[in-house]
């Protein structure tokens, strides 16, 4: 493995790890959400009701998409750098 290939793998792993960590910190939801339900109080009736609030929640689906794209791009770059490495080898 040449330097560029190693760099590609490390960067790829960093991106995938970051995606997984962000997913876990965000609550480990299966699906990415753009709105969440919050509870509000109805002072007149003394009851609670729910309201939608715009909030982005990172889900496992987004983590898998990012990881998949990273693996694909890393794989292509790995192959390109392997070829370049072979071409640049002194005879």
């Amino acid at each position: 493995m040449n330097k560029n290939q190693k760099r590609t793998i490390i960067i790829g792993l960093i991106i995938i790890t970051a995606a997984v960590v962000i997913w876990l910190i965000s609550g480990g939801e299966i699906f990415t959400k753009t709105q969440v339900l919050i509870e509000k109080k109805d002072e007149l009736f003394g009851t609670t009701y729910k309201e939608w609030q715009n909030k982005f929640i990172w889900g496992l689906d987004l983590t898998l998409i990012i990881s998949g794209v990273t693996v694909l791009v890393s794989g292509i770059l790995f192959f390109i750098f392997k070829k370049k490495g072979r071409d640049e080898k002194p005879s």
Binding site: I30, K33, T34, Q35, L44, T47, K50, W52
Partner: protein, 212 residues
């Protein structure tokens, strides 16, 4: 004298019984409340839980009317509510699209969910303006109608300065909860019981006015 006491007692007993079945409020006679809410305050929340996934959803597009005699809620309650299937939201775009599709609730073929009240039973007075009741009615979902029983708390607020800030007229607050089984309404899917529970818990929170 003994007979007079007996008759008085019987009259008082039935009067009390009658009042226990209704509200002690300023309004009298038959009242009709409309629940056409423009501020998204009226809502029905649904909940499904499986080991794999928890789904919480909400619709704020509920319309309907109820009519009852203020002092005889139990025997005079009638009404109907409708919800557009397309208004059900879960916060997850793909899930909402699936929910409307022909694989699940088929919004195109069965665009509305309806609940038609037929009677109220087990009416208990919690306070002069608050009753609890089991409300029985016909629930229609996915083209299938089934009789269900909902557990309700109904609060009557006479019009005052505070209620006028919300809406004109007397206000009626309804809190209702019930469960349904999707399979009872011909909803069939491979994921039913796995990602989506067959048992759906529904909670309804409505405020209506008699000035509309």
């Amino acid at each position: 004298m003994k007979n007079l006491v007996k008759v008085t007692f019987i009259v008082l007993f039935f009067t009390t019984l009658g009042h226990a079945q209704g509200f002690d409020v300023k309004a009298t006679g038959v009242q009709t409340f409309s629940f056409a809410d423009q501020s998204s305050r009226n809502q029905a929340a649904f909940h499904s839980t499986t080991p794999f996934e928890e789904i919480n959803g909400l619709t704020t597009q509920i319309e309907g009317k109820v009519t009852f005699d203020v002092i005889d809620f139990a025997n005079t309650l009638k009404g109907q509510f409708t919800i557009p299937v397309a208004s059900l939201k879960t916060g997850i775009e793909k899930m909402e699209k699936d929910l409307r599709s022909s694989s699940w609730l088929d919004a195109e073929k069965y665009p509305t969910i309806t609940f038609k009240i037929t009677k109220a039973t087990n009416v208990q007075k919690i306070s002069p303006n608050k009753l609890s009741a089991d409300v029985i009615g016909d629930f229609t979902l996915h083209g299938v109608t089934k009789e269900i029983t909902t557990k309700d708390t109904v609060t009557y607020l006479d019009e005052n300065e505070m209620t006028r800030a919300r809406m004109p007229g007397d206000l009626l607050g309804i809190l209702s909860s019930f469960d349904i089984q999707l399979s009872d309404f011909n909803v069939e899917h491979l994921l039913l019981g796995k990602r989506v529970s067959n048992d759906i818990q529904i909670k309804v929170n409505l405020v209506g006015t008699n000035k509309f």
